[in-house]
């Protein structure tokens, strides 16, 4: 996926890509420079989630309209390992060239082009790539209260880290003893 750009008015144009603004924003970031010989895209987790929401809605609608020759994962909660599609080496047009005289033009790549290209705003799973696992799970780190004991999440099959548990339980016991002592007095 390319950086999802917010078109801005009256930005200086690059000479090799006259239709493209140089600067763009991605989730509050401003991309100041991108050498397309080495880097062709940058995005954030926020943009990926937005795109995933759009794509899942679009695909759900198209899946209803047309039968799919293969199972397409509508549920984006797929682990990367189970990704269905494969990346192919293909020509990649990073931005949409406005049609001229009713005919869409094709961008001719220029070497060492350092200008940032504006992108077509159409949502596309191919442009974004799969959601990273850390966003799919959407979990947060455990809080640092008593929840860190994770007693409700411990599996019987997992070997208990007895030393850690003993240390933590000791702290609980000490707190209990202090309260008992306070109540006695």
């Amino acid at each position: 996926m390319k950086a999802t750009l917010t078109p801005e008015a009256e930005k200086p144009r690059c000479s090799s890509t006259p239709c493209s603004p140089i600067k763009s924003t991605v989730s509050g970031y401003q991309i100041l420079h991108m050498d397309s010989s080495y880097l062709v895209g940058f995005t954030t987790g926020e943009e990926l989630l937005k795109a995933a929401h759009k794509w899942s809605g679009a695909e759900a609608a198209s899946a209803e309209a047309l039968p799919s020759p293969r199972a397409k994962p509508i549920d984006l909660g797929l682990h990367r390992a189970s990704r269905v599609y494969k990346t192919k080496s293909r020509y990649y047009q990073p931005y949409d060239i406005p049609a001229a005289s009713g005919r869409r033009r094709r961008r001719m790549p220029s070497s060492g082009d350092v200008c940032l290209k504006s992108l077509a705003m159409e949502p596309s799973r191919a442009l974004h790539g799969p959601l990273p696992f850390c966003l799919l799970k959407g979990k947060r780190a455990h809080s640092k209260s008593l929840d860190y004991l994770n007693l409700d999440k411990m599996s019987i099959r997992e070997p208990a880290d007895t030393e850690v548990l003993q240390y933590q339980l000791q702290h609980l016991n000490l707190r209990g003893e202090r309260m008992f002592t306070r109540n006695k007095t």
Partner: protein
Amino acid sequence: MSSCTSEEAACNHQDATCTSANKSSAADTICTGSTDCSSNCQGNPNPKPPTAMKVKTGCNSADMGYPVTMEEELLRNPVITPEDVLGLQKITENYLCTPGENIHNIDFTRFRIRDMETGTVLFEISKPPASDRAGDKRDFDPNAGRFVRYQFTPAFLQLRQVGATVEFTVGDLPINNFRMIERHYFRDKLLKSFDFEFGFCIPSSKNTCEHIYEFPPLSEETMREMILHPYETQSDSFYFVDNKLVMHNKADYSYSGGP
């Protein structure tokens, strides 16, 4: 995969509010030579010497003698230390700290990478400080702001040294021993671990520092696999203050030059 060395460098600390309170040194030391990683700091017009910044490199944790650690164990710990993450053998599935644990309000405001051999700037990005982003609405997962994705071309894998300049602001608390450990993996195989110490940061300051990443030697087969399998190269960036984890960012990478 590569040898580990250490080198000292200087880092420029610029106090946005008071130039006289700068603890940076006047010397512009550039660390070069047979080092895996070094730092290069910009000149400081302030006469006070910049704080010397140690740069350390760590590689495979087994070479450094760190015990192997598991993410599940670390999530049970109230405090996560640098030694804890240096024992991780694969990319974490979860974030090991919450965004709220960044009590020092460290905020990265600019980032730039360049090829050290040619000086070519590859990428530069900035964002306004958090105080100016009051209108930001976090409708999505709060972790979404801690993840970025890069789409490189295959040519990027041919680079040897990349300099990464990072600018960041800090809040009202002084920061002792600010340190970043960044670990890169391809399919759960550790490619390289980078270890940078920023040193001390004065309160309410804006700081700039350049780290130099020396890429590990990669076989043709590994590079081919990395190109053919985008986003299976991933990294964890762990940030510590006083040896306690305060921030955790993640990234993944494509080298196919496309989606």
